[in-house]
Each structure stands twice: as structure tokens, then as C-alpha cells.
């Protein structure tokens, strides 16, 4: 071992306590940096995937809709079909699909307890599939088929009948079944939900879910669904958050249609319970998705998104248009910019303090060891050798802190993954905390503390190496 290294090691051992504190502080700073970054990356991935699936290249909603509503229930567009047709005519290379969405909570706890929430997207299997390709993501069970029981005569309507005369009042509540032979609605569920509640969520199971059916002035319906397939989008969080139902079923639940059949009578006359299905108006929807021939996010996302948005604005004036880029900016940008600045800011402050601590400790070593340094110089040690004694200490502190930081973050991530910590997310959904570690973060977590501590160490190192050997010895004499 070289003189510099062995003396550096000697100093490290001599000051192990204070160095250990510095190393741990830097290490923990790097840990929080890695964890926050990894979480942020994960969130970015969630957002990215969400926007891909949710919106295609652009989403058109009614004017009063705001961007957050895209993750839940939205106001109705009465002439959705007409708008979609207008767009397809003006932009022949683009495909459109009309979507209906609802918020749902499903019982997954003890007897009927509603514990989990999700967004249910109503898709039109024939046209919507081209937009999103959900079919390809089915991992168990199947996609919707032609003869699936879709319109089952559930009523979502809340009817109050004032009993005439001495007849009693009665209400006909939401979600109550009109048909004895009714079959549940087919639904496709995210694989994550199936993993979380394996006994409840599995293909073939019938489930009661409560659906809130309107963006404004929420109405509830309790409906029975049968799980026909599990899908996996590649983003576990997303799979827990978004389920798919036939758009017509959801339209029916939301009451997008008229009550059919002449046996039904309006209150004032009397009660009637009979066969009374809703004729769903397929022209109504919540969102119109627009998708180009190429996946936009693989091209020049920002430029193309803006172009499409401008084009759509002139085709459907007055409607709210969210481009893929808008969603990304909303969901990711607002979150990431702020968090990233805070992240780097707090890390910089801590690291600067640690750098100051390293400099301070080493300065005091130089002062106390002036005689020792002078002796080494008298014995022929070069300035560089003395410089390196302190530089190596910095290198040691920095690299150990970096490695420690990485190890702790790996540990924490594993623990969190193991126990499955989750947080309340947009629209009341539970979101598992996950991590996506990228190599750049790891490299930064290793290089930054090393650079910092080498920089901090280089000042006392320079000072020590510049000590004239005579002064070194003289001062030592005085110190005694």
C-alpha cells in the first residue's frame, strides 16, 4: 500500500466516528434521492401508460369537463356520434371512438364491503379496439364477444312515485333489477386487482359493484358484473385502476337512453313493475377518442399533438380538446418539475453541508497533524503524496456514502415492494407505490458524493501539501 493510502486509512480509522456520521448523512441523502427519483420515474411510467391507453392521441369532452375528469366520470356529450363522424370526415386518416366512463367501487372485503375503486371505461369492441388494442392485453379469459348479454334491463333511474289517495308512496331505487332472469354485465378486469384479491376477482366470478354514473351530481347504481377476462397493460397500477365494460352496458347503467315499453306508467296513476328495458342511445358518450395512423407518442409527440389539437379545434369548436401531450404535461409535468426541483434543492443543501463538514474535519486534522505532515516532508514525502493522503480520505467517504445510499435504497425499495405500501390516488383509487430505477440515478448517486467529498477534501489537502516543512515542524513545537 502506498504511503498516501496507508496514511489516509490511518486517518480514517482515527476519525471513524465523525467520518461515519458524514458517510451516513450523505448516504441517506443519496438514498432519498434515489428513492424519490425511482418513485418519480415510476409515476412517470404510470402516467405515460395511462395517457396512452386512456386518451389515444386526443380526447374530446364536453366544454365543462376539466382535465382531472378524464380519470373519472365525465359530463355527457349528447351528439358524440355526430362529432366523431365530423372528425373522421375532416381527418380521414384518423380513427375515432366514443367512450363512456364511470367510477366504481367493488366489494372485495368482508360481505359486500366496498373497498376498492376504479374507473370503468365503456368501450365499443368493434371500433374502440382499433384505438387501444385492449384485446391484445387479455392474459386470462376473453375479450367481449358478439353474443354477450350486454343490455340487461337494469334500471339506473331513480323513480319516486307519490301514492295517490291512500295508496302508499313508493320509490324505485337505482340498480334494482327489473328482470328475474337478468344476467350480469360482462366486465374485463385488471390483473393487478386479481392479484390483490385472488378469491374475489377471478374469471367467471360474479361481483356486485357500486357505480357512480355522472360527473356532476353523482347518481349511484349497484350492478352485477361477471368477470370474463383479465388484462395486463404492463403497468400494474393502471391495471388496478381501470376496468373495461361494454360501452352499451355502461350507457344503459348511466341512463343514456329512453325507457321502452308501454307497460310503464308515470306516477300519479299507480305502480307498474314489468318488462321495461332501456333503449340505449348509442350516439351519446362521455369522451371521443381520436387516434392517428401512427402512435403519436412514438413520433414527435409535442409537435404532432399541437397540430392535431389545432385541427380539432377548428372541426369541433366549443368542445374541450385534450391532446396526448396536454395529459402528459398535466399529469407528469406539474408533478415532476416541482418534485425534481425540490429534490435537487434539498439534496444540494444537504450535500453542501456535508461538504463543509468534511472540509472542517480535515482542516482540523491538518492543524493537529502539522508536525506529522512536516515529518513526512522531512523524510522526503512530496507535496503530491501529502495531497493524496487527504484526497483518498475524501474519495473513501464519498464512495462509501454513495454505495451506502444505493444499498439502503435497494433495501427500502424491496421492503416497500414486499409489504405493498399504497397511497390514495386520483379519483379515490388506491395506488401501490412502486419504483423504476434508472441507471443515471444510480450513477449520479455514486458520482455526486464522490465529486463532492473530493472537492471538499481537496481544500485541506492543498493546504496540507503546501505546508513548508520548516513551518510544519516549528508549529508542532509550539503546539506542545
Amino acid at each position: 500500500m502506498s504511503i498516501s493510502r496507508s496514511f489516509a486509512w490511518g486517518e480514517i480509522k482515527e476519525h471513524k466516528f465523525i467520518y461515519a456520521i458524514i458517510i451516513v448523512v450523505i448516504g441517506l441523502t443519496m438514498t432519498s434521492f434515489i428513492l424519490e427519483n425511482a418513485y418519480l420515474n415510476y409515476m412517470m411510467q404510470v402516467v405515460n401508460d395511462t395517457t396512452k391507453i386512456l386518451t389515444a392521441d386526443a380526447a374530446i369532452t364536453s366544454p365543462e369537463c376539466n382535465i382531472r375528469d378524464l380519470y373519472g366520470t365525465q359530463p355527457t356529450i349528447e351528439n358524440a356520434r355526430e362529432i366523431a363522424n365530423r372528425i373522421e370526415k375532416a381527418l380521414p386518416e384518423y380513427k375515432t371512438a366514443i367512450r363512456v366512463t364511470a367510477q366504481a367501487t367493488y366489494g372485495a372485503g368482508a360481505s359486500g364491503e366496498a373497498v376498492d375503486g376504479c374507473t370503468i371505461q365503456g368501450i365499443n369492441p368493434e371500433e374502440d379496439e382499433k384505438v387501444t388494442n385492449i384485446k391484445n392485453k387479455i392474459v386470462e379469459g376473453r375479450f367481449f364477444e358478439k353474443d354477450d348479454p350486454i343490455l340487461r334491463g337494469h334500471t339506473p333511474l331513480y323513480i319516486e312515485v307519490k301514492g295517490p289517495g291512500n295508496l302508499p308512496d313508493f320509490t324505485y331505487g337505482s340498480g334494482q333489477r327489473l328482470l328475474k332472469y337478468d344476467k350480469p354485465y360482462p366486465i374485463i378486469v385488471g390483473a393487478t386487482a386479481a392479484k390483490i384479491h385472488p378469491s374475489i376477482i377471478k374469471v367467471g366470478n360474479v361481483l356486485n359493484i357500486i357505480i357512480s354514473t355522472s360527473g356532476r351530481g353523482t347518481k349511484y347504481a349497484t350492478v352485477t358484473v361477471k368477470i370474463i377476462g383479465l388484462y395486463e397493460s404492463g403497468t400494474p397500477t393502471l391495471d388496478a385502476m381501470i376496468w373495461f365494460m361494454h360501452a352499451d352496458s355502461l350507457r344503459e347503467i348511466k341512463g343514456y337512453g329512453e325507457i321502452k315499453g308501454n307497460e310503464w306508467h308515470i306516477p300519479g296513476v299507480g305502480t307498474f313493475r314489468g318488462f321495461c328495458p332501456i333503449e340505449v342511445d348509442r350516439n351519446i358518450g362521455d369522451t371521443i377518442l381520436v387516434k392517428g395512423p401512427e402512435p403519436l407518442h412514438q413520433l414527435d409527440p409535442i409537435g404532432q399533438a399541437e397540430q392535431l389539437k389545432n385541427a380539432l379545434e377548428s372541426i369541433v369548436p366549443g368542445m374541450k380538446i385534450f391532446s396526448w401531450h396536454d395529459l402528459l404535461v398535466y399529469a407528469a409535468g406539474s408533478m415532476q418539475d416541482v418534485v425534481t426541483i425540490m429534490l435537487w434543492g434539498s439534496m444540494a443543501v444537504t450535500l453542501l453541508l456535508c461538504g463543509a463538514a468534511i472540509k472542517y474535519v480535515m482542516d482540523s486534522i491538518v492543524i493537529r497533524k502539522t508536525r506529522e505532515i512536516g515529518s513526512l516532508k522531512a523524510f522526503g514525502a512530496r507535496d503530491r503524496t501529502i495531497f493524496k493522503i487527504f484526497l483518498y480520505q475524501g474519495l473513501f467517504i464519498g464512495s462509501l456514502a454513495g454505495i451506502l445510499g444505493i444499498l439502503i435504497s435497494v433495501l427500502v425499495m424491496n421492503i416497500i415492494n414486499w409489504y405493498g405500501v399504497s397511497v390514495q390516488f386520483i379519483a379515490g383509487t388506491q395506488l401501490d407505490i412502486g419504483f423504476v430505477v434508472n441507471w443515471l440515478t444510480i450513477v449520479i448517486a455514486l458520482v455526486l458524493p464522490v465529486l463532492l467529498s473530493i472537492l471538499a477534501a481537496s481544500m485541506p489537502a492543498k493546504r496540507a501539501s503546501m505546508l513548508p516543512p520548516v513551518e510544519a515542524l516549528r508549529k508542532g513545537e509550539m503546539a506542545l
Partner: protein
């Protein structure tokens, strides 16, 4: 191998001037001096007379303001700081008043340290260090930490350390300055023995005239100038000269 006549160290018209708070302090004033092989030189003089400064210039720890220092005939004023460090490590052995052992190192590691610094082989150094420790009578403590030794013992280790690179001269500033009189004379006996048996050239400073007596050549320094420079025979004269100065002037 070297010419017997050639001085190991030669100071030619050396001056050292410090500037402090705008005033000049002349620590050495045009000093010329030759140290020949095998000499045992004591330097005495009142405090502040420039004894340490003189040793620093001789030991290549400091460069003179004026004049030149020759080591084995080589002019050191022209060589770089890097080369000076190497030359110092190879040619000069130092013994300090406060021993300056590295506390966390063992006695043995302290002794081999100057050898490691100039890049010698550790195994060879170790066997040589053990011989030297034997010679200074401290081999049994080779594995002890330096700080656990008495002052006299530490100074023995320091002497062994000064010898590890076979220097041409050992330079010692007040080698007994921190020792009691018994240990002091033991250390001086040891240096005298090394000078006699091994022909080690030694230059030392002492404010203690009894210690200075061990030197076989005696130099009296005053106000940065050599007042007297003698061989053995003239020591008494120097001491007489020195004692003229009042007692307080001597440290």
C-alpha cells in the same frame, strides 16, 4: 566512494532573511560552512541566533534567501522542489526535539517509514530496521506503539529511523531538549557511538553546553553569524566565549 576531502554539506555565503510585519529579520547572515565526512558537529548559541535556521538550510528543509547549499558537491539552488524532497529523503536523516514518531504506527513501522517514502522495498527495510533497533537497544519494543515509550526510548527509535536510508548526515535540533539529564546523556552517548563506530556524520544543536560538549567540532552562532568554529581543542575557548553572554540569554 566519495572524495574524502569533498564536504558532504557545504553552505556558501548563506543568508536567510524573514520579513515579518514589514520588518526584516536576518536569521542567518552570510554563513559559510563545510561539513566533512565523519564529523560530529555541535552548534551552540543564544536563543534566536539562527541555529535552527542553519540546520533547516543544511537539511534542505528550507531554501536560503541568498547563497547556496551544496550536497555532496551538488548545487541545490537549481533543483526543483520535487527533487529536493527526494534528495532530502535519501541524504538527510532527521532527529527532532519532540521525536515526532507517528503515534498510531508501531516502533518498527515508524523506523521503516522514511524508507517507504523514498520507495524502498518493505521486506529489506524491515530486516534493516530490526538491526538498527537492536543497535539503539530498543528491538524488544519493535511491535509497540511509539507513544507508549518513554521520551528517551522514543528518541532512540527516532535515531534508528534517521539511519534507515543511510543518510550522509544526521541533523538533530535539540535532540535532548525534551529529555531529563540521564536520558539526555544516554542519547548523546548513542550518537557519539554511532559517530565513532559507524562513522555517521552528525550535526546537532543544543542550548545545553554539557550536551554540546559531545560534539567534536563546535560552532558558536550569534546574530546569524558564526562567531567561532573549532576542532575539539578549542571547545573550552568557545565555552568561555559563550559564557560571557549572561545566563538568561541561553535558553
Amino acid at each position: 566512494m566519495k572524495n574524502k576531502r569533498m564536504p558532504l554539506i557545504e553552505l556558501r555565503n548563506v543568508s536567510k532573511i524573514y520579513t515579518q510585519y514589514g520588518t526584516e529579520i536576518v536569521a542567518l547572515n552570510n554563513v559559510s560552512l563545510k561539513v566533512l565526512p565523519g564529523e560530529f558537529v555541535s552548534i551552540v548559541g543564544p536563543s534566536g541566533s539562527g541555529k535552527s535556521t542553519l540546520l533547516h538550510c543544511m537539511g534542505l528543509l528550507d531554501r536560503p534567501t541568498k547563497g547556496k547549499v551544496f550536497v555532496e558537491g551538488r548545487d541545490t539552488s537549481k533543483i526543483t522542489g520535487k527533487e529536493i524532497a527526494t534528495l532530502r529523503g535519501k541524504k538527510i536523516g532527521f532527529v527532532f526535539q519532540n521525536y515526532n514518531l507517528i503515534p498510531r504506527l508501531t516502533v518498527l513501522d515508524n523506523v521503516i517509514l522514511p524508507g517507504l517514502i523514498i520507495g524502498k522495498d518493505e521486506a529489506k527495510l524491515t530486516s534493516k530496521a530490526l538491526e538498527l533497533l537492536e543497535e539503539v537497544g530498543i528491538k524488544h519494543r519493535a511491535d509497540h506503539k511509539g507513544v507508549h515509550l518513554s521520551g528517551g526510548e522514543q528518541q532512540r527509535v527516532a535515531i534508528a529511523r534517521a539511519l534507515i536510508n543511510d543518510p550522509i548526515v544526521i541533523i538533530a535540533d535539540e535532540p535532548t531538549g525534551a529529555l531529563d539529564s540521564e536520558s539526555s546523556s544516554e542519547i548523546m552517548e548513542l550518537l557519539a557511538k554511532l559517530n565513532k563506530d559507524r562513522k555517521v556524520t552528525i550535526v546537532f544543536v543544543s542550548h545545553d553546553l554539557d550536551i554540546a560538549r559531545y560534539g567534536r567540532r563546535n560552532i558558536l552562532l550569534k546574530d546569524g553569524k558564526i562567531i567561532k568554529d573549532s576542532k575539539e581543542s578549542r571547545l573550552e575557548e568557545i565555552l568561555k566565549e559563550a559564557s560571557k553572554t549572561s545566563k538568561e540569554v541561553w535558553r
